[in-house]
Symmetry: C2
Subunit: 351 residues, 2 copies
């Protein structure tokens, strides 16, 4: 059933039917009612390709997805995508994933923009001075960044969480509990969120006249295995940290595996705080020792970005709107007072 057929059934012109369905004012209310009712009855759905060709609008939002040997699409991405999907589903639009090799990213963005296949895109995990953002400005394709990019000489629309604040608060809590040797297992060092998180830790340490030791820093993609390795390295040492802050529950899983190997326990030997993006299948309160977390559902962020993209497409949102979400620090059993300071213990032993 297409527009022509529907309009014939109704003995109206295509114009009028189209206008009636699209809410234009120059249609009598009575006529509109008839049209809408008939459309429903016959199950009429406008052909999206035709509409797109006529309007130039696609009714889809896109994501340029780096893929290939070297790229892990990770758990965080999927959970975010689910959030985008939640909104899209409720508002009846689809998502287009344009896979790209990391080297051809720019070309892929250009193609996507030129094709008018999508009305808007989102950008995830930006780096400092991220080239994609500048490119999208140039292309004039509506977009929103999930996260932030520093070092860009123009403002841009984004949604981010207060990474610095979250990790500052987590660190401060550990300091208050007497911890001095605090290690940070961070994410990919190129990414802005990792930079901000480290900044938060440093600021809190700095407030106490301390600083983050290099050997207590680790920056890797946030996987179980990387968490395991980093923890092994950090903890298998006499002067090991008494507290660990992890950027992801994935890393934390690895950390727990390492702790098991080393026979260390939480929180007696090591206190643990993890950032929690909220995975439905991995709840920090379900751990043997429930985890203290800085918590911000990445899925909600996905839904919000979809919502804002829809708003931008409809031109209800314009300009470089910035949105930063606060992050909760939720204290559970995995933090405790710092164990007896080793050096002090040794001094006592010598005394």
């Amino acid at each position: 059933m297409n527009l022509k057929q529907l309009s014939q059934k109704l003995s109206l012109s295509q114009t009028t039917v189209s206008r009636a369905l699209n809410g234009y004012p120059e249609v009598a209310e009575e006529t509109r009612r008839r049209v809408v009712e008939a459309a429903k009855r016959y199950g009429y759905r406008p052909n999206p390709s035709a509409r797109r060709l006529a309007t130039g609008k696609a009714g889809m939002i896109g994501y340029v997805m780096p893929t290939g040997e070297s790229v892990d699409i990770d758990t965080h991405f999927v959970e975010f995508l689910s959030g985008v999907g939640d909104y899209a589903r409720a508002h009846d639009f689809d998502l287009v994933l344009s896979p790209t090799s990391p080297d051809d990213e720019e070309m892929t963005y250009r193609r996507v923009a030129a094709n008018h296949q999508v009305d808007a895109v989102y950008v995830s995990s930006p780096k400092s001075g991220d080239a994609r953002i500048r490119l999208l400005e140039e292309l004039g394709l509506p977009y929103i960044v999930h996260g932030r990019a520093d070092d860009l000489d123009f403002a841009f629309p984004f949604l981010d969480i207060d990474n610095e604040g979250a990790f500052h608060d987590a660190t401060r809590l550990l300091l208050q509990l007497g911890h001095q040797r605090i290690a940070l297992l961070n994410g990919d060092p190129g990414k802005t969120f990792a930079v901000h998180r480290e900044r938060g830790v440093r600021r809190a340490l700095g407030d106490q006249g301390l600083h983050l030791q290099d050997r207590f820093r680790s920056s890797t993609t946030m996987t179980e295995e990387n968490g395991y390795r980093a923890a092994k390295r950090l903890l298998d040492d006499n002067e090991r940290p008494t507290a660990l802050i992890c950027s992801s529950l994935m890393q934390t899983l690895g950390v727990l595996r390492a702790l098991g190997d080393l026979g260390l326990s939480v929180p007696d030997d090591v206190s643990l705080i993890s950032h929690d993006d909220v995975f439905p299948f991995l709840r920090p309160e379900g751990f043997a020792t429930p985890l203290t977390t800085t918590c911000s559902p990445i899925r909600a962020a996905g839904a919000r970005i979809a919502e804002r993209l829809a708003a931008r497409i409809a031109e209800r949102e314009t300009g470089p709107v910035a949105e930063v979400w606060p992050v909760d620090l939720i204290v559970r059993g995995s933090v405790g007072r710092a164990p007896e300071n080793k050096r002090k213990a040794r001094l006592v032993g010598q005394g």
Copy 2:
């Protein structure tokens, strides 16, 4: 730059230019060369909406993605998606994700088919008698199933791995090593792959006159947390299993966490075999005790399905083509001889 402009530059008709670019025979080779060269030079790219409208072909493959509160898009899905993306990227087509609430799945498939937004779709994790497959047959939308569905009264195209064989072989190995109490941590019991895996285990046990005890079965979605819980339940028992077979590395992570809690070690106390879908960020050989696995890269399956979907769209593949991949059993340190049989030990103690 559109077709009209390009054809004017070349002083040719749109027809000829279109045919030249689409590889039709009735164009002189010399002309074709000129056209192709000019298209490249001017960066001409056909407008996909227009093409779609004219041909009815979309150049995209789709996936109806259940989402919402109750649905976990899991790691396996993403890795599979990456594989689809690998192929799509190399062959210049895009993916459309149509998010749906689990309740509206049928409607979403109907919408997708009616809209002609995609040329083909894939179906993942089918259940026995999966309704989606019947629906797709009815709709006439090309599709391929990743996995199998039993209890359907017609044949359909699919790609699956030999789950039964893999788990049979794994079980047989454990039996050969003297294990008698073997537990299976399976996936969602509704899914065919889980049924097949259990069948494999049962067959191997049956060959030795043994059978799978109910208390040694666990069927849950394959997450770390579920693995942890199941392992806790199974192993915190006098008559605990001496070997565990896991359906996913995700579960295995949880199992290892549980083993750590309980102070049990691999393979001295418990032997461990896990199915490995191959996640780039979690390599079984990287574990403290390297894991024995049944290994089949889910990403390759994604790429292969994309390839076959492309073939179906081009009508190079038709009919209910079945494809089953063998699965390797890779033996590493996590399996060993069964520990002294408890009952025997007790008898000795009494003797």
